[in-house]
């Protein structure tokens, strides 16, 4: 499928020399949403070549950037088409665009309008001024929910491989029932990291994503313990379950840092330095417990 819109200057409605100019990425979804909220208005939409990537990610990469914007202003002949010198950009495009350089090279003033496309009509009706709410990023339950399917799909490939290995190992040593149990235990732990942790993010205690994942993983262990006959587990099995499954949830919760709009690179680096060795130790101890269980 093609998610790109040809870059260039688009007319929305019947714009003239005085009409406002808005700038967006050539990701089809960005373009369609911006065009949608501008329905019934007359304005210009300058679409930058971001190779089908959304504004924020493209700004991070630099494709939604100063050079591309300057080039697109010149290529479209915008200076001849409009009489004013004002461009309205999405706030999340700011990591890629140096407003003062655009001004220096083209004479156009870059104004950062709003974070969400849905606020553009309000911004335009407000005399093109940004309210503090338009400038504040959010991460609502709904905004987190829509990310979860992608998290699960991305986790599928390793999950299939790991569950097959788990099933074969457990089935070979302890029988088919044990193999089946290992598979749904793993799947549950994976979902606690890819779905439960993102969903419960603001309510899980702690700041570290890996820690939040450990908590959802432990909840899963307790559920298993209660519903899958934990009373009958040996001490070593119980140790193995409570050490290894939270590692799976924790890893996927840590992975969710990349999907949020508030984690910093330095912060993720710091928590990875602590979390990854801790995960390795927990896994190793869990496997030792499981192996001892077989030997003893």
């Amino acid at each position: 499928m093609n998610y790109m819109v040809p870059p260039g200057l688009y007319a929305i409605g019947n714009p003239g020399a005085e009409s406002p100019v808005l700038v967006t990425a050539n990701y089809k979804m960005s373009y369609d949403i911006v065009r949608g909220v501008l329905g019934g208005r007359n304005c210009w939409l300058l679409v930058l070549e971001t190779y089908g990537i959304n504004v924020w990610c493209a700004a991070g990469k630099g494709t939604f950037g100063t050079a591309e914007l300057i080039g697109r202003i010149n290529a479209s002949g915008l200076a001849e088409i409009v009489s004013h010198r004002r461009l309205n950009l999405p706030i999340l495009g700011a990591p890629g665009v140096a407003a003062h350089e655009v001004k220096r090279h083209t004479g156009f003033n870059v104004q950062y309008a709003a974070i969400r496309a849905g606020d553009i009509p309000g911004y335009l009706d407000n005399g093109m001024s940004t309210t503090s709410a338009m400038r504040e990023i959010t991460f609502t339950t709904r905004e987190r929910l829509v990310l979860i399917p992608a998290e699960i799909v991305n986790a599928l490939k390793p999950t299939i491989l790991i569950t097959i290995v788990l099933y074969v190992l457990l089935a070979a040593f302890q029988g088919y029932a044990a193999g089946f149990k290992a598979v749904y235990s793993y799947l549950g732990a994976m979902l606690m990291g890819t779905a439960a942790a993102p969903l419960l993010l603001p309510w899980l205690p702690g700041r570290s994503f890996a820690f939040k994942g450990v908590l959802t993983g432990l909840i899963w262990c307790l559920i298993l313990y209660a519903l899958a006959g934990g009373d009958n587990w040996s001490l070593l099995t119980t140790i193995a379950v409570f050490l290894t499954l939270p590692v799976v949830s924790s890893f996927y919760a840590l992975n969710f840092t990349g999907c949020t709009p508030f984690t910093s690179r330095s912060g993720v680096k710091k928590e990875m330095r602590i979390a990854l060795p801790a995960m390795g130790c927990a896994l190793a101890l869990g496997f030792i417990a499981a192996a001892l269980e077989k030997i003893l």
Partner: protein, 95 residues
């Protein structure tokens, strides 16, 4: 950002008060309200909310801001780490 707090005291963001001209562009671009203008100078009022996106430094005409900009993504950092050590030739398509 209401309801969300990430690790504190980690951001690489720095401001040089002597270079700041008080233009307010950083206040305009920061999605986490890290800055405020006080006495015609930008002040860090919410340092721990910084996600190091780099928008402020990029848009500061006086070059008064520094931040080691990047994406706070564990998967991205893992790939970077592995690639630096030439352990994998991953061509990850991610943001």
């Amino acid at each position: 950002m209401k309801g969300f707090n990430y690790l504190s005291n980690v951001a690489t963001l720095k401001i040089s008060a002597s270079q700041c001209t008080g233009c307010g562009k950083c206040v305009e671009v920061c999605p986490h309200q890290v800055f405020a203008l006080e006495d015609k100078k930008a002040k860090l009022i919410n340092f721990d909310a910084c996600m190091e996106c780099g928008a402020c430094a990029k848009n500061c005409p006086a070059a008064a801001l520094y931040v080691d900009a990047g994406v706070g993504c564990a998967a991205g950092l893992l790939v970077e780490w592995l690639r630096d050590r030439r352990l994998v030739g991953i061509n990850e398509k991610c943001c």
